[in-house]
């Protein structure tokens, strides 16, 4: 847990779940989950299992399991994950990559 009065600048790595209520600038790499609480400010490249955001995140994120943006979240940066939820009231700008394809339209008759 990085509490509300704490700022971290640099690289954070680990094998557990982490909740950030304060500030982190740099990068976060966990084999566990990252939770960015309401009021927290994270400016970092993030690589985790599951990512839950209620605060603010600026940076690209890769989550092997899921990403959830709750109401009140403010997020900029690219997101790569197999499972994404954006709740009403969350704000996001960026590129989303999920591994799937839509099959091509079964070619309707050409015009003319």
């Amino acid at each position: 847990m990085i509490a509300a009065g704490t700022s971290v600048r640099g690289q954070v790595t680990g094998a557990e779940d982490l909740t950030v209520e304060g500030r982190v600038e740099g990068s976060v790499r966990l084999s566990g989950n990252l939770s960015i609480a309401k009021g927290a400010e994270v400016k970092a490249e993030v690589e985790v299992k599951a990512l839950d955001i209620s605060g603010s995140l600026a940076g690209n994120s890769v989550a092997t399991e899921s990403v959830a943006l709750s109401s009140g979240a403010v997020v900029t940066g690219d997101i790569t994950t197999p499972r994404l939820v954006i709740a009403d009231g969350a704000r996001y700008s960026g590129r989303v990559t999920m591994p799937f394809e839509i099959p091509a339209l079964g070619a309707p008759a050409p015009r003319r």
């Binding site: 900029t76 954006i86 996001y92 590129r95």
Partner: protein, 106 residues
């Protein structure tokens, strides 16, 4: 106000535009432009650029969306393309690939 309804066996290749709500169950390739809402149902397959007030996606959509109000991708929805709207919701289970722009200041 009337609703334009594209039934499940219909295939439209071209431009759909107007001021009615549009419900798509069939296939549309081209563009849809309306001042009202558009619903892409589960059976629908749409390859089109969409300009509208609100959009609900429960089918397959390939294309870019500009919405005046809101875009929602339902759990069964699949979409590839860019979305620009003030409110965007993605449900658990939905598939999406593309750019999202809610005009968040960088």
């Amino acid at each position: 106000m009337a609703i334009t309804h594209i039934g499940s066996t219909l295939v439209i290749e071209g431009e759909i535009s107007g001021s009615d709500a549009v419900v798509v169950q069939g296939r549309v390739k081209g563009s849809i432009e309306t001042s009202q809402g558009v619903v892409i149902e589960n059976s629908a397959h749409v390859e089109a650029n969409l300009t509208l007030d609100t959009l609900e996606v429960a089918g397959d959509v390939k294309g870019n969306v500009t919405a005046a109000s809101r875009v929602e991708i339902k759990p069964e929805g699949k979409m590839v393309g860019d979305i620009k709207a003030p409110r965007i919701l993605i449900a658990d289970g939905a598939h999406f690939k593309g750019n999202i722009d809610m005009d968040v200041g960088r």
